[in-house]
């Protein structure tokens, strides 16, 4: 089953490039550490999900970048020819008919520029483009929408497009990949844009997969040892994490057939209740290529770190982990548990998915993740915890583990954003005139605040 990817805004497009590069490079990587037949099955599965083949044998990925100027093309019409150095991979390219040309971005206005004004204006063209891609798929697994939360195009148009997809393809799943902005300034009105985007997406999307700029930045600095970190570096780490989640895995324990419905399976495992839609990713190991040559890993070691990363809400191994955080005793009554967890800064999960790739993957022991103390009381570990495996190694890492978690990972960042946006709103409605100019009203802001306060409260009381 195939996934149609929609990339929106400068952020979405820059990330999309890295993601497809990572997926392609990995699937054609000669160091899969498995049999040739296995490798071919892996490649075929990856191709089925994300790429469509052109007549000349090149792969075309299903995407819709908007606006095209964010890809640094001088003219959108000659996009396929004016391929800037970044896009020089001869084996895959973007057909220019897939570009939706918007002359300008939406200048950080989430709801006016993108949602209320430009969205509707371009609705038909956008939906037509998407329709074309959907028709190319033998069977549609769903949509993967890559966008930022802080800017204008990605956030506003993203919310709009997701809503339209909900209307038009109500049976298909939608997962939004959202970039959480840096705490300190990329965009001054980022908190407003974020709350507007999140509240709209909460109503129309099925799952929100979040990457925080601050967290990925730290990984680049501390683990990858990059001195002058660029957005390209950040996007590569991000793409690596996404790749380790979306690349094929076996469908049933022990079998060699690959899973056919990535989005559906993810949702089924991780989003049991519509009130809890926010997913975070953790990945281990992550290091620079130089260090990789000198490192060896055991499953026990990797999983121990990953588990601690989960319960202490760390973003990365070694440097960031707080080993003092431990799960409380499971004998405690449910009522006391939540407040005690808060005190201990313990991260409670609703559902977790661990994905293991590499050598001797069947020998890995995941008992630590099945401890009921990790989870809320209303879901038993047998339902809350799942594991996917494949023997095929991912992207030069002999062994790697990824964790996709629906837990309190994002509670604090969400709370912070809502708090800051509220402060700005309450201070004489600063910047609100910029939004009301385009048809948005204070009521809409208040609705967004209310919805998100509800989400915060729900996660808090796990």
């Amino acid at each position: 089953m195939s996934v149609v990817t929609v990339q929106l805004g400068q952020c979405g497009n820059q990330i999309g490039f890295e993601v497809f590069d990572a997926l392609y490079t990995d699937s054609h990587c000669p160091h899969g550490l498995c049999s040739k037949r296995e490798n071919e099955a892996y490649q075929a599965s990856c191709k089925e999900r994300f790429f469509s083949e052109e007549e000349n044998g090149a792969f075309l990925f299903l995407l819709i970048p908007l606006p095209s100027h964010s890809l640094n093309f001088s003219s959108p019409l000659v996009a396929s020819q004016a391929i800037s150095p970044h896009w020089c991979n001869p084996l895959w390219y973007i057909g220019h008919s897939l570009f939706f040309h918007l002359e300008r971005g939406f200048f950080n206005k989430s709801s006016d520029g993108a949602y209320s004004v430009h969205g509707p204006r371009h609705e038909e063209s956008i939906m037509n483009l998407i329709q074309k891609e959907v028709e190319k798929c033998d069977s549609l697994s769903g949509f993967f929408i890559i966008m930022s939360m802080a800017g204008g195009t990605g956030s506003g148009l993203g919310a709009f497009v997701t809503q339209k997809l909900q209307d038009q393809y109500s049976n298909s799943l939608k997962m939004n990949h959202i970039i959480w902005p840096y705490g300190t300034g990329e965009v001054i009105v980022q908190n407003y844009n974020s709350i507007l985007t999140l509240s709209h997406l909460y109503r129309s999307s099925d799952a929100l997969l979040v990457h925080e700029n601050d967290a990925v930045h730290k990984i680049c600095a501390k683990l990858m040892n990059i001195k002058q970190i660029s957005f390209s570096d950040i996007n590569q780490v991000l793409a690596h994490q996404l790749g380790s989640v979306f690349q094929p895995t076996y469908s049933v324990e022990g079998s060699c057939h690959y899973r056919r419905n990535p989005l559906g399976d993810l949702m089924e495992n991780l989003v049991p209740h519509p009130e809890f839609k926010m997913l975070g990713i953790r990945n281990i190991p992550q290091m620079s290529e130089n260090s990789l040559a000198y490192s060896t890993f055991t499953w026990a070691g990797l999983l121990k770190y990953l588990r601690q990363m989960l319960i202490s809400n760390s973003k990365m191994e070694e440097v960031g982990i707080d080993w003092h955080v431990r799960p409380p005793l499971s004998r405690l009554p449910t009522l006391g548990k939540a407040s005690l967890n808060r005190e201990l800064q313990f991260n409670t999960s609703i559902a977790n998915l661990v994905i293991l790739r590499g050598k001797d993957v069947h020998s890995a022991d995941l008992g630590g993740f099945k401890d009921p103390a990790l989870y809320t009381s209303w879901l038993k570990p047998i339902n809350a915890f799942n594991v996917w495996k494949t023997q095929r190694a991912f992207s030069k890492y002999e062994k790697s583990a990824a964790l996709v978690s629906n837990s309190q990972f994002l509670l604090k960042p969400l709370d912070t954003i809502v708090g800051k946006a509220w402060n700005m709103f309450a201070s004489n409605r600063a910047y609100i005139h910029q939004y009301t100019k385009f048809g948005l009203e204070e009521e809409d802001f208040l609705d967004s605040f209310t919805l998100l306060e509800q989400v915060v409260a729900s996660y808090c009381n796990l």
């Binding site: 002359e103 300190t184 965009v187 930045h217 970190i229 660029s230 509220w422 910029q434 209310t450």
Partner: protein, 400 residues
Amino acid sequence: MEEGVVNEILQGPLRDVFDSKQLITDISGSGNNWAVGHKVFGSLYQEQILEKLRKSAEHCDCLQCFFIIHSMGGGTGSGLGTFLLKMLKDEFPDVYRFVTSVYPSGEDDVITSPYNSILAMKELNEHADCVLPIDNQSLFDIISKIDLMVNSGKLGTTIKPKSLVTSSAGAVKKRHQKPFDAMNNIVANLLLNLTSSARFEGSLNMDLNEISMNLVPFPQLHYLVSSLTPLYTLADVNIPTRRLDQMFSDAFSKDHQLIRADPKHSLYLACALMVRGNVQVSDLRRNIERLKPSLQFVSWNQEGWKTSLCSVPPVGHSHSLLALANNTCVKPTFMELRERFMRLYKKKAHLHHYLQIEGMEESCFMEALSSLSGLIEEYNQLDATKSMPVEDFPRLSVAM
């Protein structure tokens, strides 16, 4: 307007850049009289101007904004310029209006400049989306500084002879021939850097409308203090980190501001940093963290930073930074202007030149004055919050 000035440009080295169909001239200027510029030329040329604007606008695939470049102290720029502003607002309400205004400095050769400026300010208050005030004295100080460095040989071999700035610094030596060219060059650089992200690629683009969106929290407060660094070039292409950080520090020093202002000691409402060249997001963030503690931001916008990265550096430099600050340090400029206005107005000096123009009455002056006073009062109120403790507003509570 003034034929003489326009002709000079048409004979200069850039004559091919200007389309003669887009020029409107009249024989004389406005005689330093805002009323002549605004009311007389305004009504006389309204149709013509509108016609040409519409034609030009039609050529655009997507019109993003208008740039109005003028002075405040004269007659045409000030009067007709602000008339134009109102016209643009009526005719193209969705298109942003950016105004680069040169404010009269202390020693100014136009006696009636306070009148002209205050009358123009009212229009800017009401019809501009964003104003970048500039004053001649600051530009002159900056040129003198560059001059000093070039002459003293302090930077010696590190200055590239062909850079945009030093070639104009050379012009300062020929001071008596073209006195304003060097100063105007700085303003030109300001506009270049402002639009660079919209013209070139970068990892974090910023369109012009994002400037207004992020830097103008309340419609009235749309005056942005600008500063440019570096003012001289460095021959070394791989700038060691220390030098790069110096560029950021300089942007906040009062010597680099394009008006007489000291943002570091006043209150910031918002700040934008537009970087060009080989600078990455980590350099940007490091410098923001470093400089943040020494700057005061308004309580509800403690992280009021807007940033953009453009990969293409300006000619002759390896990177540059333009900082735009919405800061209460513009207040003294306005207060000074008001004072100079009052000195003339109390004596009713030169007033008759204005009042004899049809449509001008004393009430125009009073309205303009109260508009400016209102603006100053808003800045005063913000300044008053400077030393108040930061309190969070109580959040909405939801039933569980």
